[in-house]
Symmetry: C2
Subunit: 706 residues, 2 copies
């Protein structure tokens, strides 16, 4: 528009922000993985470029790269940043708060003032002359609600306010301000400037056009050369604005700079704009402004007022939610991680979430205990869970077995191991859960010879499972089904935890290390030195912690055959299983975080003995017994028995030497284990059935259904 000669106040088009989704993701990850609850301001970088479309202004854009790089991605990140013509850097600062309330309570005026001060000082120190990008700065305040993936934020583009304001005397398309030769030359040098990687992202510059219509672009630091040699002198800047009657926001601080630094009162400015990546003098503007600030304004120590909070749809605070656009699985994973990281930040700095997520847990039994243990493991961040159970979900299960619903009971019932896995994935889809439909072979349950092959297959499979996992939970509801896994765990020296329920009392315990651990091996020597006070040569005199069977005086033989109706159903007070399951998992987490892990000695509640080994998670007991009728709980220790049928060195050695032959003998001969270990109390032989009566129960498959 021609003619502002009578002078009106120069009006600038505000900067607009645009935040890429990647910025919020990167911020979330930074918050979760590096910052925690640290609220220190973060230096970030915004990007902008000259307007390149006659209808659309360019925005100041934040990308993932706007935030500090991941430690691992440093180099590639740097290369992205320099000399990109479409990404002229703008230095910014981010105040990300931990709560919405503190976001709202931020003192916006002081924050703005602080940024204004930086600009003011860069002007006066001469830094802005050397590095013109610091003349544009921005301020971002935000609250990242990582639970719901909502981000509240406000932008400010601090602009020093001239007092009195600059008056405009002329503002025209640049094409109307130059001769054809001048225009051609200006276009050429602008394109050259924009295409050189050393200048492409330098947003403030000086343009001089000599009497030969020859245009030159120089850095601000070349001011002295420029002022003397130029016929026409223009203060150029990359203008993000597309409007024909307003220069864009960066000009504000540029004028403040010019007036403060070079003390000019009348200037010509050049709003550089492009069309499809090339200088376009039809879109670019040239204007003339008069500046006459008060003397006070020019004093270094006086920091001018600054304005520039972005307003969007009439509001300063914006909110964006990413939840709906994100992959629900990723959201679930990050939400789960957030919860655990919060626990680490706040209460357990030594919590090793990576270790937990990599620990492979084997759950034998997917009943009341198994369901709850699996849930608790997931809540602690364990991601690799294998469940073994041969049963199907029956109608009475869902009320106590927390992974099943009525639907799993229909049409004869889903296999528990499979239904449990399905349910775990519905709770947390990133879990690596596996369900194995398999019965656990039991000693004292003789096997007909035609079934021998299958039972031995199961034994081997169980051994493979135990060998390939890091921790084993014994959660079945019979004693004898715990025997083989106890033996195999003891042989493999695996962390093993037993939970067992009575009617109103429970036992949760960790098994001690196996008897065959070679304390002389290299990896063990440091530990054994530390454990110290026992003879390595005499293994069974070493105070190993006991297993579930260590306090037994009889071998585990068939206890299921004659259970009555009430014994078959697990008759326990409903409160027991959740308590025992929770304690079992807490115990595992304790073991995994203990420096001696499976070798850790037994600790007791409130005993004096804990001082030396105190762990952030608390004490690491051997056994926990609790009673619901007394609302009481106590910690106990039981050492290994040299005649234990599952973990003594005789038994484990015998297994080690004879492998499955040994197991088969134990399964088929009720007294074999007792004979072997010298236990003298013998059980009565199982009652044999009346031979006149053929034991011809129909199989399930042949059942009549009416």
């Amino acid at each position: 528009m021609a003619g502002h000669d009578n002078g009106s106040v120069l009006q600038f088009a505000p900067f607009q922000s645009s935040v890429d989704e990647g910025f919020w993701h990167r911020l979330s990850s930074l918050k979760l993985n590096q910052l925690g609850i640290d609220e220190s301001p973060i230096f970030i970088t915004g990007f902008y470029a000259p307007c390149s479309h006659s209808q659309v202004s360019n925005h100041l854009t934040l990308l993932g790269e706007s935030l500090p790089p991941e430690p691992s991605a440093q180099s590639s990140h740097l290369s992205l940043r320099s000399g990109n013509r479409n990404r002229c850097s703008v230095p910014g600062i981010l105040y990300n708060t931990n709560t919405l309330e503190s976001f709202q309570a931020l003192d916006k005026q002081s924050l703005m003032k602080a940024e204004a001060k930086k600009i003011w000082e860069d002007i006066h120190s001469g830094r802005a002359e050397q590095e013109s990008s610091v003349l544009s700065r921005f301020l971002l305040i935000s609250f990242a609600d990582l639970k719901s993936w909502k981000f509240y934020y406000s932008f400010a583009f601090p602009a020093l306010v001239l007092d009195p304001p600059a008056m405009i005397t002329s503002l025209k398309p640049a094409s109307q301000c130059f001769s054809l030769e001048e225009a051609d030359s200006l276009t050429a040098v602008c394109n050259e400037w924009r295409n050189s990687s050393t200048t492409a992202d330098v947003p403030f510059f000086l343009v001089s056009i000599d009497s030969n219509s020859h245009a030159t672009i120089r850095h601000l630091k070349d001011w002295e050369v420029c002022r003397s040699d130029g016929y026409k002198l223009l203060f150029g800047f990359y203008d993000p604005c597309h409007l024909p009657n307003n220069p864009g926001w960066p000009l504000r601080n540029f004028i403040a700079f010019i007036c403060s630094r070079w003390n000019l009162q009348k200037i010509r400015f050049f709003c550089y704009r492009e069309h499809r990546g090339f200088a376009d003098l039809g879109l670019s503007l040239v204007g003339e402004a008069l500046i006459s600030v008060s003397q006070e304004w020019k004093l270094h120590k006086h920091i001018p007022k600054a304005v520039g909070w972005e307003v969007n749809k009439g509001k300063k605070t914006r909110c964006i939610t990413l939840a709906n656009s994100m992959d629900p699985i990723k959201l679930a994973v990050s939400a789960a991680e957030l919860n655990l990281k919060l626990m680490r930040w706040r209460a357990l700095p030594s919590l090793d979430l990576h270790m937990l997520s990599a620990t492979k847990c084997l759950l034998l039994g997917a009943g009341t205990l198994g369901c709850q243990v699996a849930r608790m493991l997931m809540a602690w961040g364990v991601r690799k869970i294998t469940l073994v159970d041969s049963g199907k979900v029956s109608m009475s299960n869902p009320l106590r077995q927390s992974l099943y619903t009525l639907e799993d009971c229909l049409n004869g019932g889903e296999y528990k191991a499979l239904a449990a896995v399905k349910s775990l994935k519905q709770i947390f889809p990133a879990v690596e859960a596996d369900g194995i439909v398999m019965a656990i072979p039991m000693p004292g349950h003789p096997v007909p010879s035609q079934d021998e092959h299958d039972v031995l297959e199961d034994c081997r499979r169980l051994q493979d499972l135990i060998d390939s996992h890091d921790a084993v939970f014994l959660l079945t509801d019979t004693r004898e089904s715990r025997w083989l896994p106890t033996l195999l765990s003891s042989n493999a020296n695996k962390i093993t935890i037993t939970a067992a329920l009575g009617f109103d009392s429970f036992l949760v315990m960790r098994h001690g290390a196996g008897p065959l651990v070679d304390y002389r091996s290299e990896s063990m020597s440091a530990l054994s030195a530390e454990l110290g006070n026992f003879s390595l040569a005499d293994r069974d005199k070493r105070p190993r912690l006991g297993c579930y069977f260590c306090s037994d005086v009889v071998a585990p033989i068939d206890s299921t055959s004659n259970r009555t109706l009430d014994q078959q159903c697990t008759v326990t007070r409903p409160g027991l299983a959740p308590i025992a399951s929770a304690l079992a998992v807490e115990l595992l987490v304790g073991i995994l975080h203990h420096p001696h892990r499976i070798f850790a000695k037994a600790e007791f509640a409130n005993s004096m003995d804990n001082g030396s080994t105190e762990q952030p998670l608390g004490i690491l007991p051997h056994q926990i017994r609790g009673s619901l009728s007394q609302f009481s709980q106590m910690t106990l220790v039981g050492h290994s028995s040299s005649s234990c049928t599952a973990c003594c060195s005789i038994v484990v050695n015998e297994f080690h030497n004879r492998k499955m032959d040994f197991v088969l003998e134990a399964i088929n001969h009720p007294t074999y284990l007792e004979d072997l270990t010298g236990l003298t109390e013998l059980k009565e032989a199982a009652n044999s059935f009346d031979l006149d009566w053929d034991n011809d129960i129909d199989d399930d498959d042949e059942c009549v259904e009416i």
Copy 2:
């Protein structure tokens, strides 16, 4: 078939059984409601009738009525039984075992022998002559697997074996054995016998045909009359068999009776059969048999051998499953009841399942605690559950909040109260669960005047909810949200249980009775006399148990506004919530079974004090505090404070008098409660926001979604 003159062994067609589904349902209900684990034999009644179709034998049928009646249904049951021509009674005995193993282990031979002895003795005592139906007996052995609704069973129809066996000399259709006149007369008297309610179900009888071709039917006891007067004498019985060449099974014991009791060696028997309900001599058979048993056989003390185990498809044991034909909801209900009844039978005879199922529980909060408490309540048989929560399910919830899955988090999340109800119904469809989306008004969270109406509505609604339930659980995650419900419960004198979590410790407690209970009222006088040792006139000196706020020194004011990221998420060790929830529910069950309920005094673990009040469920503490880091748990007591902001008589009286005006004052004035109760510590006034900054956060609805 004509001519057996040369004599061949008389062969009988075995009885066949048919069990109606109603029989198994009635047996299940009997087992669950009356028998429990009692394995005593049960007298049952089978029904049969003469064969009435040329192609199909009649079966011995068991119906629901075959079993002893429900106590309430006695009279109608009796009327069903007598004189029904299609239901001739056969006395039977049922051995229903508690396990499949004991079913298999039953001594079938002795059971058969015992039945044979009954028949033999009824023959010799003359009872069979008076009451012929005892000549047929049956034996049923079964195992009812009420978990899977599978029934294993075997039938026996004990028949005394003649030694040597009876020889047959002739067997023909009855129509070939009589003159037309004789046949007409026989048909007429048979129909008359069958149509009279006094004889219709008498299955053994005597037929005599005089020289005038006139047939007469008499009871067995009329033998003497019959033998003297008859020209033709036939031993008649209702024959269930349709085969043209074999009499049915009941004839066996009839022959044994005739030969033992009347000492005959040659007999004519009449297999009475019908067609469409009328005597049919073409289907009926007449046969002649020779009997010559050893002398030993006739001795009373010698009990003959008996045979008669039913064989079906080559097997003696049959299995039927009803699960698939049953309504899954009914199945779920009966499975749930079975589990609880088993607990009562075995361990807790005083467990009042009816009371539990009728107890209405109000759960304030449907988060980690609320989900688990609801599950535990259902497991204990509580059927009426109302959940109150204003929140939506977020991504981090399913891992710890056991009623939700990932699906509930999508699209912004389901309301927790509603998702929880949906989930409870999937677990147990018969639960009467209600979800209420409502925030609990909190003291110290001032309400803008335009919202006052809504907040007061919520207060009144909460009061209605508390008044209409029997027990209240406080399971929210802020202190101040527990204040109003505590006050309302205290005012209504409702059982109230609080569960609260720290990082690795928890508190579970029951609130004491409210201060306004009128101990002088009639219903209270007995109790207060029993509680005895305190002055009724001086209420606040009475040792009421405290509430959650009783040990506070500050009133519950706004604790949420400045919670940081980590405080917003509930940062607790995952094991805590299941433990605290389980204990909270066990505590409720204890209170409900205590004779003094809300007034029960505090008991302690393993204290000497428990002797006098020992309950089957164990002690009833006031507070349980537990620590995961110590794996410890202890019981405590805290008495009510006379300056408690939630339950002291000043506060409750004030509420009683001023109702919602009082609540509003407490909500709007952070110090009001402290002023009222005389608590001196005052909280700092909440920080006011920077007034220059408009607090213009977007609502959720206006959030940008990308």
